[in-house]
C-alpha cells in the first residue's frame, strides 16, 4: 500500500491551509526528513517533511490550492518495490478530515478556559490536547465516556486530583447541556434547551425554566468573572456623524460590490484609533501588560441563545470594503453556527453596537482578557452647539469601558478623542 502524506496541522487551531509549493515532483526519491512541500496558513508558512522514505507516486493537490483540509491526503508515497499500479484506489480511502476542536468564545488567546458553546467530537484515538498544546489530564474512564458521547474534554473542568478530569466531570458536562455534535460540522450555536414549566414554591410565581446551554454558561462565567475581577471605568463622548453618514452614502453610491454600514466605519475608526493610541490596545496578564501590535476588533453579534464575537483582524490596515465584506461573512457564519475558533478568538478590543435598537447610550462589560470595549449607541438628531451657535446634528454617543489595570483614564480619553476625531472627520481614516 502506498503511504499517504496528509495535510499537517501547523497549529492546534488550524483546520485548513494553502498548499503553497511542492518541493518534489512525482517520481522523486525522498528520504525521511526531506522537505517535500510548503504549507501556508494565515499565520505562517511552514515546511512539510517526509516522515518515511520512498518514491513520490502522485501529488494529489496542485500547488497554490487554498483551503486544503487538515488530514486530507495530499500525496502518495510508493514504498520499496511498489509501482504506480499500487496508486489506484489508494487516495479514495483517504481519511475524512479530522474534526476540529472547539474552543470558548471570544478568548483573545487560544486557551480554552471554559466549555465551548456546542462541543464537537475530538479526533478519535488522538491524545487529547488542549488548543494550546497542553495535555488534558483525564481518567481512562472519563476519556472513554467523552469519546462515546462526542464530548471534547479540552473544555471540561476537572475536579479530580490536580484538576484531573474524572467520570463525574464528564457526567456533569453532559448533563449540563454541552451538547454532543453528531457530525464534524462545527456548531458553536447553542443547543436548543428544553423548556420546562415548573410549579413555583412558596410565593414565587410560575415560570418556564430553561437549562443553561453551553454558550449560556460561557457567557455567565466570563462576564461574571469580568464584572467581579476587572476594575471597570467608563468614558463617554458624543460624536457628530453627519460627515460620516455623507461619506458612507457617497462611497456606497459608487459601487454595488459593497454596502458599507455605519458599524463598518466604526470598526475601521476603532482600529485606526488603536494604532494611534497603542497603549489602549492592551491586556492585563496578572504580572504585566500585553500591548498588542495589531488591532484585532471583536464585534459582538447577537445570535440565537446568546452572542458571539467574530474578529476583524488588523482592522486599521484593511480597507472599508474588505472590513465590510468580512463582517458580513462572519456575521452570517455566526448566525449559522459555523464560525471556526480562530474566527471568534483572539481579538484585542471589542465593539458592541446597540444603536439599531435605538439605545442612546450604555456601558458594556469588558470581554476578558481584553482591556476595553466600546459601547455604541444610536445616531440621532440632537441639538448641538457648534462654534457658539445652536444647531442640529446627528449625534452618536459611545462609551468606552476600560480595565484600569491595563489602561489608565488619560489613555482611555486619548483613545476616545482619536476615535471621535476619526468619526467626525472620516476622511482622515485614509491617512
Amino acid at each position: 500500500m502506498p503511504v499517504k502524506i496528509l495535510m499537517p496541522a501547523l497549529s492546534p487551531t488550524m483546520t485548513e491551509g494553502t498548499l503553497a509549493k511542492w518541493m518534489v515532483a512525482e517520481g522523486d526519491e525522498v528520504g525521511s526528513g526531506d522537505v517535500i512541500a510548503e504549507i501556508e496558513t494565515d499565520k505562517a508558512t511552514m515546511e512539510v517533511e517526509a516522515v518515511e522514505e520512498g518514491r513520490v507516486g502522485k501529488l494529489l493537490v496542485a500547488e497554490g490550492t487554498e483551503g486544503v483540509k487538515v488530514n486530507d491526503t495530499i500525496a502518495l508515497l510508493l514504498e520499496d518495490g511498489e509501482d504506480e499500479s499500487a496508486l489506484e484506489g489508494a487516495a479514495d480511502s483517504a481519511p475524512a478530515p479530522a474534526a476540529e476542536k472547539p474552543a470558548p468564545a471570544a478568548a483573545p488567546d487560544d486557551k480554552p478556559a471554559t466549555p465551548a458553546p456546542g462541543a464537537k467530537p475530538a479526533p478519535a484515538a488522538a491524545p487529547v490536547a488542549k488548543a494550546d498544546g497542553d495535555r488534558v489530564f483525564a481518567s481512562p474512564l472519563a476519556r472513554r465516556m467523552a469519546e462515546q458521547a462526542g464530548l471534547d474534554l479540552s473544555g471540561v473542568k476537572g475536579s479530580g486530583p490536580n484538576g484531573r478530569i474524572v467520570k463525574a466531570d464528564v457526567e456533569a458536562a453532559l448533563a449540563g447541556g454541552v451538547a454532543p455534535a453528531a457530525s464534524a460540522a462545527p456548531a458553536p450555536a447553542a443547543s436548543p434547551a428544553p423548556k420546562a414549566t415548573a410549579s413555583a414554591e412558596g410565593f414565587e410565581p410560575d415560570f418556564d425554566f430553561e437549562p443553561a446551554s453551553g454558550m449560556r454558561k460561557v457567557i455567565a462565567q466570563r462576564l461574571t468573572e469580568s464584572k467581579q475581577t476587572v476594575p471597570h471605568f467608563y468614558l463617554t463622548v458624543d460624536c457628530q456623524i453627519d460627515n460620516l453618514l455623507a461619506l458612507r452614502k457617497d462611497l456606497n453610491s459608487r459601487s454595488d460590490e459593497y454596502k458599507l454600514s455605519v458599524n463598518d466605519l466604526i470598526i475601521k475608526a476603532s482600529g485606526v484609533a488603536l494604532r494611534k493610541v497603542p497603549a489602549a490596545n492592551a491586556s492585563w496578564t496578572g504580572d504585566g501588560v500585553k500591548l498588542y501590535r495589531s488591532a484585532d476588533i471583536s464585534v459582538a453579534v447577537a445570535i440565537e441563545g446568546g452572542l458571539i464575537t467574530p474578529v476583524i483582524r488588523n482592522a486599521a490596515g484593511k480597507g472599508l470594503e474588505t472590513i465590510s465584506n468580512e463582517m458580513k461573512e462572519l456575521a452570517a457564519k455566526a448566525r449559522d453556527g459555523k464560525l471556526q475558533p480562530e474566527e471568534y478568538q483572539g481579538g484585542t478590543f471589542s465593539i458592541s453596537n446597540l444603536g439599531m435598537f435605538g439605545v442612546k447610550q450604555f456601558d458594556a462589560v469588558i470581554n476578558p482578557p481584553q482591556g476595553a470595549i466600546l459601547a455604541v449607541g444610536a445616531g440621532e438628531q440632537r441639538p448641538v452647539v457648534n462654534d457658539g451657535a445652536l444647531g442640529i446634528a446627528t449625534v452618536m454617543s459611545v462609551t468606552l469601558s476600560v480595565d484600569h489595570r491595563a489602561v489608565d483614564g488619560a489613555v482611555g480619553a486619548e483613545f476616545l478623542a482619536a476615535f471621535k476625531k476619526l468619526i467626525e472627520d472620516p476622511m482622515t481614516m485614509l491617512l
Binding site: S139, P140, L141, A142, R144, P161
Partner: protein
Amino acid sequence: MADTNFDVIIVGGGPGGYVAAIRAAQLGMKTALVEREHLGGICLNWGCIPTKALLRTSEIYHYATHGNAFGLKIEGVSVDLPAVVKRSRGIAKQLNSGVGHLLKKNKVTVFDGAGKLNGGSAGARKLKVEKDGKSVAELTGKHIILATGARARVLPGLEPDGKLVWTYKEAMVPEAMPKSLLVVGSGAIGMEFASFYSDLGADVTVVEVLDRVLPVEDEEISAFAHKQFEKQGIKIHTKAKVSELKRGKDNVTATIEADGKKTSLTVDRVILAVGIVGNVEDLGLEGTKVEVDRAHVVIDKWAQTKEPGVYAIGDLAGPPWLAHKASHEGVICIEKIAGVKDVHPLDTGNIPGCTYCRPQVASVGMTEAAAKKAGHKVKVGRFPFIGNGKAIALGEPEGMIKTVFDEKTGELLGAHMVGAEVTELIQGYGIARTLETTEAELMHTVFAHPTLSEMMHESVLDAYGRAIHF
C-alpha cells in the same frame, strides 16, 4: 496547668480519631485527643488486629493438622488456648503503645477520660473531660471531631452476659475452648469467629436472618463461601432467627425459628454478631443541633454535623463500619477544616471490604445485582483458583475472582473475591477504581507470574471472553 485551648479536639482514639489527630498535627494544628479507654480503639485493641492474630493461629493449626497434604508428618499438634489469647493480647498491646508513640511524636496532647460537649459556640466549642465521674479538664476547641465509634448491637432477649452469651469482646479472650458454639449473625465479625472456633475444633452453628451468609457480598461469592463453610463442618441456617436463649449452668439452649418451625439447639457458648450501634450517648449532644438517626450521628459529605464546628467520623457517623473508612473520613474532615486544596468527599463505592474467615472474602464496588439494579448493562468475568498455578502450588485451589464491568464504558463497577489471600489482592482493584481505569488498562497491566494476582487479570479478560487459562 496544661494548655486547654486547641485548634481541633478529637473525641475518641480509634482508627478514625488517632489518624485524624496525626493528620491535624501534620497540618500544623494544635491538636488534642480525648480517649476514655485505650488508644487505637476497638480496631486495634478488641477488633481488627487481635482477631487477625487469632485467625493466624487457627490458620496455622489448620495447616498443621493437614500436613499430609503438603508431604509433612506433623504429630501431636494441640491448642494451648491461654497462649493463643496471650499472643493476641500482646499484639494489641504492642500496637496500642505504638499509637501512643505516634501521637507523642506528632505533639498531639492526649487526655485520659471521656469527652462531653459543654456549650460554647462555633469557633470556640467547650469540651469537658471526665474520668470516673469527675471532671479532669475543660477544653476549648475551634473544631471538635466526635469519633467515639460503636459497640455490639443487642437484641431483646439475647442480651449478652459475658459468660455464656458473648459479644466479640469475650469471644476474643476465651478461658476454655467451647465444644459447641452458636454464632448469631453471619456478617464479617460472625463469620470470622465461626472460622476461628471451627478450625480449632469447635462444633459451630451460624444463624443468619437474611437469605445468605455474608449478605453484603455478591450473591455468587456468598454462595461459594457458604459451600466452603459447610464443607468445613460449619452448620448454617439462613432465613432463620434465634428467638430465645435459655441459659443453663454451663450451656445455653437456643430456639431457632426458620420456615415457621422452631428447633432447639444446646451449645456451650453463643456469640452475638448482629451489627453495631453508634456510641452516641454521654457526648453532650443534648441542646446542640447535632442530629442523631438510628444511633448514628448525621453528617454531610465533609463529616460536618448540623452544629457548626462539630464533626463526626467513623462508626459513629454510619456505615460502612470499617476502620479504614473511619481513618479516611478523619483525614478528609481535617483537610477540609485546614482548607487543603483538592480534598474530595469520601466515595463509599471505593471502600474495600475484607473478611478474614477461611476462605477469605474481599470486595470493592458494586455487586452484580446492585450494578444491574442501578441500570448498568454489565459484563461479568469470573476466574476460579483451580486455573491458577500459584493457588494450586499453595494448596488453595478453592476460590474465585469475579469482576463486573459496565458494558458500555468499560468502568470496573465492582470486584468480588473469595479464596486464599484475597484480602491482600483486593487493593489492586481498589486502585483501579480510584484511578477510574477501564478494562483496557487492566488488560494492559502485566501481572507477575506466578502469583494469585494473575487471577485478577484473567477475571478481567474473562469478562471480555479472553481468559487464557480457563
